[in-house]
Symmetry: C2
DNA sequence: TCTCAATGTTGACACACGTCGATACAACTG
DNA sequence: CAGTTGTATCGACGTGTGTCAACATTGAGA
């Protein structure tokens, strides 16, 4: 997956009544929407903070109780953001007794980095 | 810049009345907002399509006239999206006579990829 | 089973965002 | 200078999103 699309048309000489560009094929609409959905899940300061906490924690996993303390929003809002990230496939949730633990999905993050190349 | 933050606390043994995690420092709020703003500029299917067109064009630059044809929205909407990307520093605009040309800012894209590492 | 603590869900609100038609601006051409 | 074409801005509308208080749910342990 790459944000770039191969050009299929050779370069043309500019004409006076034309900007002289060579039209190329845009990224497929459905793929663009999939990628936008992933980026949208990342595009929030609170969610970036939550991800940084998980990423910096031992075993790269974190409990909700730690995250609510480290972020300037209420507990329901933290839960909402975590759900957003889980739904996007960026985090996985695991319940251990009373506490809920979250881990990063490395493959999903690789994919995101990949289509920004 | 990295999404990860170094852990400054050693791992603890779990206790019964505690989830047993080691609290870590979250990403700085201001930095999180800067990164979120950049990601938000990318997190739209139309803008991803526009970027793909520019990236795939000869000399990695594209004219508005080509983009309006390749994307399923009106010309004012294309102009709006391009302004969003320029404001975010992801694109640069250059006027050549009647036409407006846009190029990617490679450093800005590198930075975005960087803090997803 | 009952209670308590941790977590998730719901409903409501304010605000941001994508979209378009109408219009304004800019630059080439006659 | 006037007309034409490409591009940008404005105003308005509907939708999406972040937030919280209130409530529901889950699981541990007495």
């Amino acid at each position: 997956m790459s944000i770039t699309t191969l050009s299929t048309t050779p370069q043309q000489l500019p004409r006076v009544d034309d900007c002289g560009s060579s039209p190329v094929v845009a990224l497929d609409r459905e793929e663009a929407e999939r990628r936008a959905a992933l980026l949208k899940a990342l595009a929030d300061p609170v969610r970036l903070q939550l991800l940084s906490i998980i990423s910096a924690s031992p075993n790269r996993e974190a409990c909700v109780c730690d995250m609510t303390e480290a972020v300037p929003v209420s507990q329901p809002t933290v839960s909402h953001h975590l759900k957003t990230l889980v739904d996007a496939g960026i985090l996985t949730r695991e319940r251990r007794g009373t506490w809920a633990w979250f881990r990063l999905d490395a493959a999903r993050l690789d994919a995101i980095r990949g289509f920004l190349a």
